[in-house]
C-alpha cells in the first residue's frame, strides 16, 4: 500500500486519528481493542494506525500474540518544536513592531 507522507499537523487533523491518540493517552491498547471503538472496518482502523506509526505518534509492540499500540513522543516533538519556535519568533517580531510604532508616534 502506498503511504503518502503527511506532516504532523495533517496527521492529527483527522478526527479518527485524534480519537485513537485520545484512547491511547489513557492506556496502551491492542489494535483489536482500538478497533472496537470505531464503526469503520478493522482495515480502515489499521490504516490510521499505520499513519500514526509512520509519523512517530505511536509505536507498536508485539506482546505474546497481541499487537499493542502506545503513544510515542517523536510525533509530538515535531509539533512542539515548531510551536515553541513560532511562539518565541512572534514575541520577538511583535516587540520590534512595537518599537517601530513607538518611534512613529514620537516623530509626530
Amino acid at each position: 500500500m502506498e503511504q503518502q507522507r503527511l506532516d504532523a499537523f495533517q496527521v492529527i487533523a483527522d478526527p479518527s486519528r485524534r480519537q485513537i491518540l485520545y484512547l491511547l493517552s489513557k492506556d496502551s491498547l491492542t489494535i483489536n481493542s482500538l478497533a472496537e471503538n470505531f464503526d469503520m472496518s478493522r482495515p480502515a482502523v489499521s490504516k490510521h494506525i499505520k499513519v500514526l506509526q509512520n509519523s512517530g505518534f505511536i509505536s507498536i509492540q508485539d506482546i505474546g500474540r497481541e499487537r499493542y499500540c502506545s503513544l510515542q513522543q517523536d510525533g509530538f516533538n515535531e509539533l512542539q518544536k515548531w510551536l515553541e519556535y513560532y511562539d518565541a519568533f512572534w514575541a520577538a517580531k511583535l516587540q520590534k513592531l512595537g518599537t517601530l510604532l513607538n518611534n512613529k508616534n514620537k516623530k509626530k
Binding site: 507522507r5 506532516d7 491518540l21 499493542y68 512572534w90 512595537g98 510604532l101
Partner: protein, 149 residues
C-alpha cells in the same frame, strides 16, 4: 507548553498605522521579513528567512492571502518545509481592535486544518509518558513494582 500560538499586544497607535505595518512590504520588512505581500485576496507571496537545517526548513515561508478586512482583519496561509516540495501547513490570523488610545493586535498562528486539533496536546502530554512506562512493565515484568532504586 503552547497549544496554539497566540499573542495579544496593545500598541498606542491608531489601527490604520498598525495596519500599514502589517500590509506594506516596505514596512513589513522592517520588523518581520522581506516579502512580496499584497493585501489582495488570493495573492500568493513568500517571506524569506534564514534556512534552518536542523528544523528541516529551507528559509522560505509560502503564503496566500485568505482574508482581508482593511484595518480589522488579515489572514494568510503559512506553509514551510525542507525545500523538497514537502510542506507543513499552517495559518496566521491577525485581528485589529481600535481602542480610545490605541489598537489591540491579536495574532493567532495555528495548524491549517482548524483550531480543534491542538487541544489534543493536553491529553498527550499527560498520557504518553505513563503509557511508555506501562509498556515497559509489560515487556519487563521482572522490574515491575517491587524493584526499588
Amino acid at each position: 507548553m503552547a497549544k496554539i500560538i497566540q499573542h495579544q499586544i496593545f500598541y498606542p497607535n491608531p489601527a490604520a498605522d498598525v495596519w500599514d505595518y502589517l500590509t506594506d512590504p516596505e514596512l513589513m520588512k522592517q520588523w518581520l521579513m522581506p516579502t512580496d505581500f499584497k493585501p489582495v485576496l488570493g495573492h500568493k507571496f513568500t517571506f524569506t528567512a534564514k534556512p534552518m537545517a536542523d528544523f528541516d526548513f529551507d528559509g522560505i515561508f509560502h503564503c496566500k492571502v485568505l482574508e482581508v478586512v482593511p484595518f480589522k482583519k488579515l489572514s494568510y496561509s503559512w506553509d514551510f518545509g525542507p525545500g523538497n516540495g514537502f510542506l507543513n501547513r499552517s495559518e496566521v490570523h491577525w485581528t485589529l481592535t481600535e481602542k480610545d488610545n490605541g489598537t489591540d493586535l491579536l495574532l493567532i498562528h495555528r495548524g491549517a486544518e482548524g483550531s480543534e486539533m491542538l487541544p489534543i496536546f493536553d491529553a498527550m502530554d499527560k498520557g504518553w509518558l505513563g503509557n511508555i512506562n506501562k509498556i515497559n512493565k509489560l515487556l519487563n515484568p521482572e522490574t515491575d513494582g517491587t524493584a526499588k532504586a
